[in-house]
Subunit: 354 residues, 2 copies
C-alpha cells in the first residue's frame, strides 16, 4: 500500500483510513508511513516496532513533537472511507487518521520549519498500556520524545484542549454475614450495607480547580456493582467499582488518598491508575502555539497520551480535527474543514508558505 | 434394593440413605418403597411417576396425611450412611430420609390407627416446582391429598413448626443515562440512583404478626445487585433483586402490592412467587396432634411444601427429626433420639401399642 504525500490532507486521510489498522495489526500502515517518510532527505527516520519517528535537525531554538496513533478500534462495518459533502466518514476518520494525515503533510512539505520538529506515528493506543507505542518509546528511547512542547493530534474539534485529567479505579467492598433469607435476622446483608457507599457517592461534590485559567471538573462514579450468592441467601459481599477522574493539580497518590479517605471504613483496593497532565500553558512554546491557533483553549477532561509527555516533563496539548464524542462510534466522521484548518494553522505557526 | 420394614426406624433410615436418590434419579428408591408397601394388605398403594401413595380405609372420622420427599440434593462425598455414637451421618439423613423411615415404619406396623392415614413419599422436592411430586399429585390426583390435617416430616428438630411464610422475588430497576465517566455531568448514574433503593431496604421494619399464637417474622432483602457497562461509562441501569418473605396472613397478591408500594417510583417486576400457609392450629386434628407431641409449636419461617396442602384447604404442619439448619450441608446428620422420639409420639397419637 502506497501513501501519496503530495496529495492534500483530506485525500491522504482517505488513504490512511483505507489501510485497515486495528490495534495489534498496524504493520501495513506503519510500513506505508515509513516508506513515505524515508525518501524525505530533511528528516531522520527511525522505526520502533510499528511506531515511526521522523525528526528535523535544523538547530532551531525550540523543538516540538507532533504525534498521532495509527491504530483504530475494531472494524464495525465502517470501511472503506466515504466522502459525503463536507464530511469524510469511516473508521478512524475522526480517531485519528485525519490528525495523522496533517502530521504527514507537514512532515513532507515543511522542510524548513521555524522550530525543529519530531513526528511520531505510533501503534496500539486503543488497547492496554503495555502495547502502547508511545509508552514503549518512552521506555526504549525517551530522548526521541524530548521537546519543549508536544501536540497530540487526537480529535479536539480543532481547538486546543490542554492537559488532561487523571483516572483511577478502586473496588470498594462492603461485607456482611450470610444467612438464609427466610431467617434474615441471623445475618448481615452486604448489599444493604453498600447503600452507605452509594449515599456517599450521591453526596459527592466535585472539585473544579482552575489551572492556567482552565476549569477542570473532577468526577467520582460507580461504574460497576455486583453482589449476590443465591436467590435465598443474604450475601456476605458487595463490591462497588468506582472510577475517579481527577484534575491534574493532584498526583495519583493524592487522588488515591482522597478516595481512601472518602470511603473511610471500607476495604478499598486500587485496580488501575494513570496520572493527569498539567496544561503547562505558561511555557513560551505553548503560548505561541495557542496564539497562532486563535487563543481558544479548553480543559481536557478525558485521559489521553498527553500524560506520557507530561510524565517526561514535556508540556503537551491535544489539538486535532474531529469531534471527540464521535470516537469509537460506528458512524464516526471528520469535517473536511477541520482537517484543512488544522493543517493551515500549524503551517502558519511553523512559518511555512501555504 | 430391598427395604426391611420390620427393622427399626434408625436401621431403615440407613437403608434409605444408602439408596442414592438425587433429584430426577428417584426410580430405585421409589421402586424399593413401592415393593415394601405393596404386600401390606391394610393399605391401598398407588404409584404416580416416582411418587408412592398408600392409604388406609378404616372409615375413621378423620384422615391425616404423613408426607416426605424421597430425593436429596447432589452427593457431596457424604455417602454411604455412617453411624457415630448418637448420630447418623450422611446425605439425606436429616433432609429427610429419617422422616421417610418413620412414615414407612408407621405404615408397616400401625395396621389399625385411630385415624385414617395417607402416606405420601414423593419425588423431586429439591428442584423446580414443575418436577415436584406433591405438586404433580395435587394436579393429577388432588383427592389423594385430601385430609383433615397433614404432617410434612421435614426436619424441624422434632418439634412442630406450623404453617410457613410465603416468598416472592422482584427485580427493582433504577435507570439513568449513559455518559463517559470523564464527563459524568452529562449523564445520570443508575448505580448511584439505586442508593435510594438500598436506603429504603435499610429503613425496612419487618412485620411480626402473631397468628394462632405464633409470631412470624417477615423479611425484605436484596439478594443480588448488578449494574455496569464499562470501566469508563456511567451505567444507565442497575437492578436490585429483592426477596420478600411474608407471613401467612398475607396472600401473594397482598405481598406483591406491599413490595410495589414499598418501591414506589421504580420499575418493579415480579419474577417468582409462592404463597405462605396459615398454621391452622384451630382445627381439632391439629390441636390433638400438638397436645400429643408435647404442646410446643414454633412458627416456620422458610417455605415448605406444607403450602401445597394449605392450597388444597388442608391444615398442615412440619414435624420431623433433624436440625433444619443442617439441610443441604455436606456434614448433615440426624440425632438417633429424634427419629425414635418422632416415631414414638406419632404411634401414641395414632393409638398404637409401642
Amino acid at each position: 500500500m502506497h501513501l501519496d504525500l503530495t496529495a492534500d490532507a483530506v485525500t491522504l486521510t482517505e488513504q490512511l483510513v483505507n489501510i485497515e489498522s486495528v490495534s495489534r495489526n498496524e504493520q501495513a500502515i506503519a510500513d506505508a508511513v515509513e516508506a513515505a517518510l524515508r525518501p524525505l532527505t530533511h528528516l531522520t527516520v527511525s522505526r520502533h516496532g510499528n511506531t515511526v519517528v521522523a525528526r528535523t535537525h535544523l538547530g532551531r531554538g525550540e523543538r516540538v513533537v507532533l504525534a498521532g496513533h495509527l491504530d483504530t478500534v475494531p472494524v464495525n462495518d465502517n470501511l472503506p472511507a466515504r466522502r459525503e459533502g463536507d464530511l469524510l466518514h469511516g473508521l478512524g476518520t475522526c480517531d485519528m487518521k485525519a490528525g495523522d494525515a496533517v502530521i504527514l503533510r507537514l512532515a513532507a512539505t515543511v522542510a524548513e520549519p521555524n522550530r525543529d520538529l519530531t513526528f511520531i506515528l505510533y501503534e496500539a493506543e486503543e488497547i492496554e498500556t503495555e502495547f502502547n507505542g508511545l509508552n514503549l518509546l518512552s521506555q526504549s528511547n525517551p530522548e526521541l520524545m524530548t521537546a519543549d512542547f508536544a501536540i497530540l493530534m487526537e480529535p479536539s474539534d480543532a481547538v486546543v484542549e490542554a492537559g488532561c485529567q487523571g483516572t483511577l479505579r478502586v473496588d470498594v467492598r462492603a461485607t456482611g454475614e450470610r444467612a438464609h433469607s427466610a431467617r434474615s435476622w441471623r445475618g448481615v446483608n452486604a448489599i444493604h450495607r453498600a447503600g452507605d457507599i452509594l449515599d456517599r457517592l450521591n453526596a459527592y461534590e466535585p472539585r473544579k480547580p482552575v489551572i492556567d485559567g482552565l476549569e477542570y471538573h473532577e468526577g467520582l462514579n460507580a461504574v460497576f456493582i455486583r453482589g449476590g450468592v443465591a436467590g435465598n441467601v443474604l450475601p456476605d459481599e458487595c463490591v462497588v467499582e468506582v472510577n475517579h477522574r481527577f484534575a491534574p493539580d493532584r498526583s495519583e497518590a493524592e487522588a488515591e488518598q482522597f478516595v481512601r479517605d472518602f470511603f473511610d471504613g471500607y476495604d478499598v483496593r486500587l485496580t488501575d491508575s494513570a496520572p493527569g497532565a498539567l496544561p503547562g500553558l505558561a511555557v513560551p512554546a505553548a503560548k505561541a502555539f495557542i496564539d497562532a491557533v486563535g487563543g481558544e483553549v479548553n480543559p481536557k477532561f478525558g485521559w489521553t497520551d498527553v500524560a506520557r509527555f507530561s510524565g517526561l516533563g514535556v508540556p503537551a496539548v491535544n489539538f486535532g480535527p474531529g469531534d471527540p464524542m464521535l470516537a469509537h462510534k460506528q458512524e464516526e466522521y471528520v469535517p473536511i474543514e477541520h482537517i484543512e484548518r488544522c493543517e493551515r494553522q500549524l503551517r502558519d505557526w511553523l512559518g511555512a508558505d501555504r
